[in-house]
Protein backbone atom coordinates (compact mmCIF):
# COMPACT_ATOMS: atom_id res chain seq x y z
CA UNK A 1 0.00 0.00 0.00
CA UNK A 2 1.73 3.13 -1.14
CA UNK A 3 1.55 6.37 0.80
CA UNK A 4 -0.71 7.96 -1.82
CA UNK A 5 -3.23 5.11 -1.64
CA UNK A 6 -3.22 5.28 2.14
CA UNK A 7 -3.88 9.02 2.15
CA UNK A 8 -6.67 8.50 -0.39
CA UNK A 9 -8.41 5.96 1.83
CA UNK A 10 -8.07 8.15 4.90
CA UNK A 11 -9.54 11.19 3.13
CA UNK A 12 -12.25 9.16 1.41
CA UNK A 13 -13.21 7.52 4.69
CA UNK A 14 -13.43 10.89 6.42
CA UNK A 15 -15.54 12.29 3.57
CA UNK A 16 -17.99 9.38 3.76
CA UNK A 17 -18.06 9.71 7.54
CA UNK A 18 -18.92 13.39 7.18
CA UNK A 19 -21.67 12.67 4.67
CA UNK A 20 -23.20 9.99 6.91
CA UNK A 21 -22.96 12.37 9.86
CA UNK A 22 -24.85 14.94 7.79
CA UNK A 23 -27.75 12.50 7.57
CA UNK A 24 -27.65 11.19 11.11
CA UNK A 25 -27.20 14.46 13.05
CA UNK A 26 -30.35 16.08 14.36
CA UNK A 27 -29.23 19.68 14.75
CA UNK A 28 -28.60 21.58 11.48
CA UNK A 29 -25.47 23.22 12.84
CA UNK A 30 -23.84 19.83 13.36
CA UNK A 31 -24.87 18.86 9.83
CA UNK A 32 -23.22 22.05 8.60
CA UNK A 33 -20.01 21.18 10.44
CA UNK A 34 -20.05 17.71 8.89
CA UNK A 35 -20.48 19.23 5.45
CA UNK A 36 -17.50 21.50 6.08
CA UNK A 37 -15.51 18.39 6.97
CA UNK A 38 -16.58 16.76 3.69
CA UNK A 39 -15.50 19.84 1.75
CA UNK A 40 -12.10 19.93 3.42
CA UNK A 41 -11.57 16.23 2.67
CA UNK A 42 -12.52 16.84 -0.95
CA UNK A 43 -10.03 19.70 -1.10
CA UNK A 44 -7.42 17.27 0.19
CA UNK A 45 -8.39 14.82 -2.56
CA UNK A 46 -8.03 17.54 -5.18
CA UNK A 47 -4.56 18.26 -3.84
CA UNK A 48 -3.76 14.56 -4.05
CA UNK A 49 -4.72 14.62 -7.70
CA UNK A 50 -2.50 17.63 -8.34
CA UNK A 51 -5.27 20.19 -8.86
CA UNK A 52 -3.87 22.69 -6.35
CA UNK A 53 -5.69 25.79 -7.56
CA UNK A 54 -9.05 24.05 -7.47
CA UNK A 55 -8.32 22.82 -3.95
CA UNK A 56 -7.50 26.34 -2.76
CA UNK A 57 -10.60 27.78 -4.46
CA UNK A 58 -12.75 25.03 -2.92
CA UNK A 59 -11.57 25.95 0.58
CA UNK A 60 -11.79 29.70 0.05
CA UNK A 61 -15.16 29.83 -1.74
CA UNK A 62 -17.04 26.76 -0.57
CA UNK A 63 -15.55 26.34 2.88
CA UNK A 64 -14.95 29.98 3.67
CA UNK A 65 -17.93 31.72 2.09
CA UNK A 66 -20.82 29.42 1.16
CA UNK A 67 -20.73 27.40 4.36
CA UNK A 68 -20.29 30.55 6.42
CA UNK A 69 -23.52 31.73 4.80
CA UNK A 70 -25.23 28.51 5.86
CA UNK A 71 -23.92 28.80 9.40
CA UNK A 72 -25.07 32.44 9.60
CA UNK A 73 -28.58 31.53 8.45
CA UNK A 74 -28.81 28.66 10.94
CA UNK A 75 -27.71 30.98 13.74
CA UNK A 76 -30.03 33.80 12.68
CA UNK A 77 -33.09 31.63 12.29
CA UNK A 78 -32.25 29.78 15.51
CA UNK A 79 -32.99 26.46 13.88
CA UNK A 80 -33.69 23.86 16.50
CA UNK A 81 -33.28 20.14 16.50
CA UNK A 82 -35.41 18.08 14.21
CA UNK A 83 -38.36 16.24 15.68
CA UNK A 84 -38.35 12.47 15.79
CA UNK A 85 -40.91 10.73 13.67
CA UNK A 86 -41.88 7.13 13.46
CA UNK A 87 -40.24 5.65 10.44
CA UNK A 88 -42.04 2.75 8.88
CA UNK A 89 -40.41 -0.51 9.77
CA UNK A 90 -40.49 -1.57 6.15
CA UNK A 91 -38.20 1.33 5.31
CA UNK A 92 -35.48 0.31 7.71
CA UNK A 93 -35.69 -3.43 7.07
CA UNK A 94 -36.06 -3.53 3.33
CA UNK A 95 -35.18 -0.03 2.26
CA UNK A 96 -31.65 0.29 3.59
CA UNK A 97 -30.39 -3.07 2.27
CA UNK A 98 -31.97 -2.33 -1.10
CA UNK A 99 -30.33 1.10 -1.21
CA UNK A 100 -26.98 -0.46 -0.35
CA UNK A 101 -27.45 -3.07 -3.05
CA UNK A 102 -28.27 -0.35 -5.58
CA UNK A 103 -25.20 1.62 -4.56
CA UNK A 104 -23.03 -1.47 -4.83
CA UNK A 105 -24.41 -2.22 -8.29
CA UNK A 106 -23.70 1.30 -9.52
CA UNK A 107 -20.21 1.21 -8.00
CA UNK A 108 -19.46 -2.10 -9.68
CA UNK A 109 -20.69 -0.77 -13.01
CA UNK A 110 -18.53 2.33 -12.75
CA UNK A 111 -15.46 0.41 -11.67
CA UNK A 112 -15.92 -2.05 -14.48
CA UNK A 113 -16.30 0.52 -17.21
CA UNK A 114 -13.37 2.70 -16.19
CA UNK A 115 -10.98 -0.08 -15.38
CA UNK A 116 -8.72 0.68 -18.29
CA UNK A 117 -8.53 4.42 -17.80
CA UNK A 118 -5.22 5.94 -16.78
CA UNK A 119 -4.70 6.66 -13.10
CA UNK A 120 -6.05 9.91 -11.76
CA UNK A 121 -3.17 10.68 -9.42
CA UNK A 122 -0.38 11.03 -11.90
CA UNK A 123 1.93 12.97 -9.63
CA UNK A 124 1.98 16.02 -11.88
CA UNK A 125 0.53 19.35 -10.83
CA UNK A 126 -1.77 21.44 -12.95
CA UNK A 127 -0.11 24.82 -13.11
CA UNK A 128 -2.28 27.83 -12.37
CA UNK A 129 -0.85 29.51 -15.44
CA UNK A 130 -2.22 26.79 -17.73
CA UNK A 131 -5.60 26.94 -16.04
CA UNK A 132 -5.80 30.70 -16.42
CA UNK A 133 -4.80 30.51 -20.09
CA UNK A 134 -7.72 28.14 -20.67
CA UNK A 135 -10.06 30.26 -18.63
CA UNK A 136 -9.36 33.43 -20.56
CA UNK A 137 -9.06 32.02 -24.07
CA UNK A 138 -11.39 29.13 -24.57
CA UNK A 139 -13.81 29.72 -21.71
CA UNK A 140 -13.92 33.50 -21.70
CA UNK A 141 -17.61 33.60 -22.66
CA UNK A 142 -18.77 31.43 -19.74
CA UNK A 143 -16.43 33.44 -17.51
CA UNK A 144 -18.11 36.71 -18.36
CA UNK A 145 -21.51 35.05 -18.04
CA UNK A 146 -20.71 33.85 -14.52
CA UNK A 147 -19.75 37.37 -13.50
CA UNK A 148 -23.15 38.48 -14.75
CA UNK A 149 -24.74 35.60 -12.83
CA UNK A 150 -23.07 36.72 -9.61
CA UNK A 151 -24.36 40.24 -10.19
CA UNK A 152 -27.89 38.85 -10.57
CA UNK A 153 -27.47 36.81 -7.39
CA UNK A 154 -26.30 39.86 -5.44
CA UNK A 155 -29.29 41.89 -6.65
CA UNK A 156 -31.63 39.02 -5.82
CA UNK A 157 -30.24 38.65 -2.32
CA UNK A 158 -30.55 42.40 -1.68
CA UNK A 159 -34.15 42.48 -2.92
CA UNK A 160 -35.06 39.44 -0.83
CA UNK A 161 -33.51 40.83 2.31
CA UNK A 162 -35.19 44.21 2.18
CA UNK A 163 -37.62 45.18 4.84
CA UNK A 164 -41.18 45.43 3.67
CA UNK A 165 -42.38 48.90 2.73
CA UNK A 166 -45.90 49.21 4.04
Amino acid sequence: MSAVLFIFFVLAGLAIFGAVALILQSHPIHSALSLILVMLCLAGLYLLMGAEFVAAVQIIVYGGAVMVLFVFVIMLLNAGEEERTNFSKLASFAGVPLALALAGLIAAAIANSTRHMPAATTGELTSTRELSKLLFSEFVYPFELTSFLILVAILGAIVLAQREHH
Binding site: Y62, A111, A161
Partner: protein
Amino acid sequence: MVPTSYYLVLSAILFGLGVLAFVFKRNIITIFMAIELMLNAVNLAFVAFSQALHKSDGEVFVLFVIVVAAAEAAVGLGIIILTARNRRSLNVERVDLLKL
Protein backbone atom coordinates in the same frame (compact mmCIF):
# COMPACT_ATOMS: atom_id res chain seq x y z
CA MET B 1 -1.08 5.53 -7.96
CA VAL B 2 -4.79 5.70 -7.33
CA PRO B 3 -6.93 4.43 -10.20
CA THR B 4 -9.61 6.74 -11.56
CA SER B 5 -12.38 4.31 -10.71
CA TYR B 6 -11.71 4.77 -6.98
CA TYR B 7 -12.46 8.49 -7.27
CA LEU B 8 -15.56 7.85 -9.35
CA VAL B 9 -16.93 5.31 -6.90
CA LEU B 10 -16.32 7.77 -4.05
CA SER B 11 -18.12 10.45 -6.05
CA ALA B 12 -21.07 8.12 -6.64
CA ILE B 13 -21.25 7.19 -2.95
CA LEU B 14 -21.22 10.85 -1.89
CA PHE B 15 -23.87 11.67 -4.46
CA GLY B 16 -26.04 8.82 -3.20
CA LEU B 17 -25.64 9.98 0.39
CA GLY B 18 -26.64 13.46 -0.74
CA VAL B 19 -29.79 12.07 -2.33
CA LEU B 20 -30.57 10.16 0.87
CA ALA B 21 -30.18 13.30 2.95
CA PHE B 22 -32.35 15.24 0.49
CA VAL B 23 -35.14 12.70 0.75
CA PHE B 24 -35.08 11.92 4.46
CA LYS B 25 -34.41 15.22 6.22
CA ARG B 26 -37.13 17.64 7.10
CA ASN B 27 -35.27 20.84 7.82
CA ILE B 28 -35.09 23.00 4.72
CA ILE B 29 -31.54 24.14 5.45
CA THR B 30 -30.32 20.56 5.76
CA ILE B 31 -31.96 19.74 2.45
CA PHE B 32 -30.11 22.66 0.90
CA MET B 33 -26.87 21.36 2.34
CA ALA B 34 -27.58 17.99 0.72
CA ILE B 35 -27.77 19.79 -2.62
CA GLU B 36 -24.33 21.27 -1.97
CA LEU B 37 -23.05 17.78 -1.14
CA MET B 38 -24.33 16.48 -4.47
CA LEU B 39 -22.63 19.35 -6.31
CA ASN B 40 -19.37 18.57 -4.52
CA ALA B 41 -19.58 14.91 -5.51
CA VAL B 42 -19.98 15.93 -9.14
CA ASN B 43 -16.98 18.28 -8.82
CA LEU B 44 -14.88 15.36 -7.63
CA ALA B 45 -15.84 13.35 -10.70
CA PHE B 46 -14.97 16.30 -12.95
CA VAL B 47 -11.51 16.74 -11.46
CA ALA B 48 -10.82 13.00 -11.55
CA PHE B 49 -11.61 12.83 -15.25
CA SER B 50 -9.66 15.99 -15.94
CA GLN B 51 -6.54 14.53 -14.37
CA ALA B 52 -6.96 11.12 -15.97
CA LEU B 53 -7.32 12.53 -19.47
CA HIS B 54 -4.56 15.13 -18.97
CA LYS B 55 -6.75 18.05 -20.00
CA SER B 56 -7.49 20.98 -17.71
CA ASP B 57 -10.96 21.62 -19.09
CA GLY B 58 -12.53 19.68 -16.24
CA GLU B 59 -10.92 21.90 -13.65
CA VAL B 60 -12.14 25.05 -15.35
CA PHE B 61 -15.62 23.57 -15.30
CA VAL B 62 -15.24 22.86 -11.59
CA LEU B 63 -14.54 26.56 -11.03
CA PHE B 64 -17.77 27.40 -12.82
CA VAL B 65 -19.73 24.86 -10.80
CA ILE B 66 -18.36 26.35 -7.57
CA VAL B 67 -19.34 29.85 -8.65
CA VAL B 68 -22.85 28.79 -9.66
CA ALA B 69 -23.29 26.91 -6.39
CA ALA B 70 -22.26 30.00 -4.44
CA ALA B 71 -24.73 32.21 -6.31
CA GLU B 72 -27.47 29.65 -5.84
CA ALA B 73 -26.73 29.33 -2.13
CA ALA B 74 -26.99 33.09 -1.67
CA VAL B 75 -30.36 33.45 -3.36
CA GLY B 76 -31.72 30.18 -1.96
CA LEU B 77 -30.88 31.12 1.60
CA GLY B 78 -32.53 34.50 1.09
CA ILE B 79 -35.71 32.74 0.02
CA ILE B 80 -35.45 30.38 2.99
CA ILE B 81 -35.16 33.30 5.42
CA LEU B 82 -38.27 34.93 3.96
CA THR B 83 -40.27 31.71 4.00
CA ALA B 84 -39.20 30.96 7.55
CA ARG B 85 -40.30 34.42 8.65
CA ASN B 86 -43.71 34.01 7.03
CA ARG B 87 -44.47 30.44 8.08
CA ARG B 88 -42.55 30.56 11.36
CA SER B 89 -41.22 27.06 10.81
CA LEU B 90 -38.29 25.47 9.01
CA ASN B 91 -40.05 22.14 8.58
CA VAL B 92 -40.82 21.39 4.94
CA GLU B 93 -43.78 19.23 5.92
CA ARG B 94 -45.52 22.32 7.26
CA VAL B 95 -45.15 24.22 3.99
CA ASP B 96 -47.70 22.16 2.08
CA LEU B 97 -50.50 24.69 1.60
CA LEU B 98 -50.43 27.84 -0.47
CA LYS B 99 -52.39 29.55 2.33
CA LEU B 100 -50.21 30.81 5.16
